[in-house]
Amino acid sequence: MAEITFDGVTKIFGDNIPAVDQLSLHVAEGEFMVLVGPSGCGKTTALRMLAGLEDITAGSLSIGGTVVNNVLPKDRDVAMVFQNYALYPHMTVAQNMGFALKIRGQSKGEVARKVGEAAAILRLTEYLDRRPKALSGGQRQRVAMGRAIVRSPQAFLMDEPLSNLDAQLRVEMRLEIARIQRLLGVATVYVTHDQIEAMTMGDRVAVMRGGRLQQCDTPQDLYDHPKNDFVAGFMGSPPMNLLRVGLETTDAGVALALGSQRLAIPASYATSHHLPRVDGPGVVFGVRPEDVEVRDGSSADSLTTRVERREALGAEILVHLSLVDVGGDNAIVVNDSGAVVARPTKLVAKMGPRSGVSVGDHLDVRLNPDHFHFFDADSGLSLRRGV
């Protein structure tokens, strides 16, 4: 058991574009850290550097307080679960799980005991004599986990271990992995591109983009206070509505200009946020789909919208809304070749399963004023003070 520290870790492959750029991240002892981000953002590369499978171009990486930049993988004492499990095809489940112990010269009896314990935790006892070929996807996944946990390593590294499983099994294994990790209390770095896995499993979640760390926080903090528009748009399903809007002064104070409609910004935001000046470049305004509520009749704090599409998901309905009478900048703009380059301002709302909206309806919606988000129009950084 140990803590893990990335300090300005950079990885540059041949092409001079950093795959991981100045990554600084601390994983505490026993912590479950999730690395999440879109494809190609460097998650796997970061994990492989930690495992020692990839050289570190710059920066320092330490496990348990020891810098491991030049330590061979076999001496790092970390266990890795690969996306395709990489089970040894010529060994039985028991041999697969016991292999690392055998290499380390532990006695037969001890190996068998540890494998037995791990198999019990993973409910694999009856499969110990099978070859990987004769196992289902979920069972192979558990063997891959087993191979990691028998070792009681300094850290677990997992690279999208659930991405090859079907949806139901994934939910099951998500809980299972989280349970086992809590049970063993080993520092874990878990890579995924699935933000639901990130939200549900991680003690903390590190969001990456283009090799750079965007934000590292608890799932709830990440959700409530994204540091930039990328994190805001990445975490949450459906993602946060992000609208690029101008600010205007009205009788009631500062308001958002959404086409011809105006939405008042509560005065408190002027103190909690660095809002840009009125009539300036504008801001990126964010509101989560669950904070878009239907109202009866229009009022000063509501927007008039039209239902464009509804997606019934069973427990909830996603309603795609477009602002009515947006005019100006927000209307559909078609370029020379006929492609749409701008759409009328759209919002997605999450509604209860029995809300009887249908396509074409006009709805007045209120955006929950307690949960507005503002981001800089250029840098995308949150305008909240003190972040």
Partner: protein, 290 residues
């Protein structure tokens, strides 16, 4: 293991309406079966003749009637069969051992390690497969003679190993390219060094490739005459193929004895093939893929 699956294509030759489809397929099977029997007969007939002929004495062979064990019992007095089979075995197994010892690690390196000029080196080695034996035989003979290695088996073993290694490097490289990198990496994270990975993971996984190289090289080397003839100069070290050639070249060659010798010489290659065939077909999909 990556297997390239060709998508099932509509067979263009089937022009009949649907109800007629089953009969043509069945007929097709019978035609195929018949063709295979014909091929089998053509292939097996020489063995049959060899077998029957070897069971006659010289006079029975000439007159056509009767059977006897005479040519089998006299064979050992004509040529030292036992010694020659032993020579062949030593030469064959030593060469194959070298071929495997070089080919397997080389294939591993070419497919899994990144190093400068690896592609170029690989291509140079593999292109050596294109060079026919006859083209390099004389220069090779001069070299080996100058090194004084034509006495025992050493010269022949080295020449066979040199001839077989490019193919084996090629085969192992292709085979290991199909083994996911993660498998080796899993071993490395589990605590193996590169040599440990080679010995404890790669070797067991490579069994089908090892079997393939062994069988193909065994057949080739065991059946080869030219190299044995040239590079093994001691008559007492002759391999079986050379022994038979000498027998055949004699002034009073007994055909039944020659046939008996031929059977003895052909048998090991067949046995090796039959023994390893299981691994050739099997194994290539050992459940590495999912």
């Amino acid at each position: 293991m990556t297997t390239v699956l060709t998508p099932p294509t509509e067979s263009g030759s089937h022009k009949e309406p649907p109800p007629l489809k089953p009969p043509p397929r069945r007929i097709g099977r019978w035609v195929l079966f018949g063709a295979m029997i014909v091929v089998a007969v053509i292939m097996l007939y020489p063995f049959f003749v060899m077998g029957v002929t070897s069971l006659k004495s010289e006079s029975q062979f000439l007159s056509g009637g009767g059977f006897s064990w005479l040519s089998w019992s006299s064979l050992t007095s004509v040529i030292p069969v036992g010694q020659e089979v032993l020579s062949s075995t030593i030469v064959c197994s030593s060469s194959i051992f070298i071929i495997l010892c070089v080919g397997l690690p080389a294939g591993f390196a070419f497919s899994k390690l990144r190093f400068r000029l690896s592609t170029v080196v690989f291509l140079v080695i593999v292109s050596a497969m294109m060079v026919p034996l006859q083209a390099i035989l004389m220069p090779e003979f001069v070299n080996v003679t100058k090194l004084g290695l034509t006495g025992g088996y050493t010269g022949a073993i080295l020449v066979y190993a040199a001839l077989g290694t490019p193919f084996s490097v090629f085969l192992f490289t292709t085979y290991f390219r199909g083994v996911p990198d993660e498998l080796i990496e899993a071993g490395i994270v589990d605590g193996l060094g590169y040599f440990g990975a080679l010995w404890r993971l790669v070797l067991p996984i490579a069994v089908p490739a090892i079997a393939t190289v062994t069988v193909l090289q065994f057949i080739q080397i065991w059946d080869d005459l030219l190299v044995g003839l040239l590079f093994i100069q001691n008559t007492s070290d002759r391999p079986i193929t050379v022994g038979l050639a000498v027998l055949a070249a004699g002034r009073t060659t007994s055909i039944p004895e020659l046939m008996a010798g031929s059977i003895i010489s052909a048998l090991p290659a067949m046995l090796v093939y039959l023994g390893f065939q299981r691994y050739l077909v099997k194994g290539l999909t050992m459940g590495i893929d999912r």
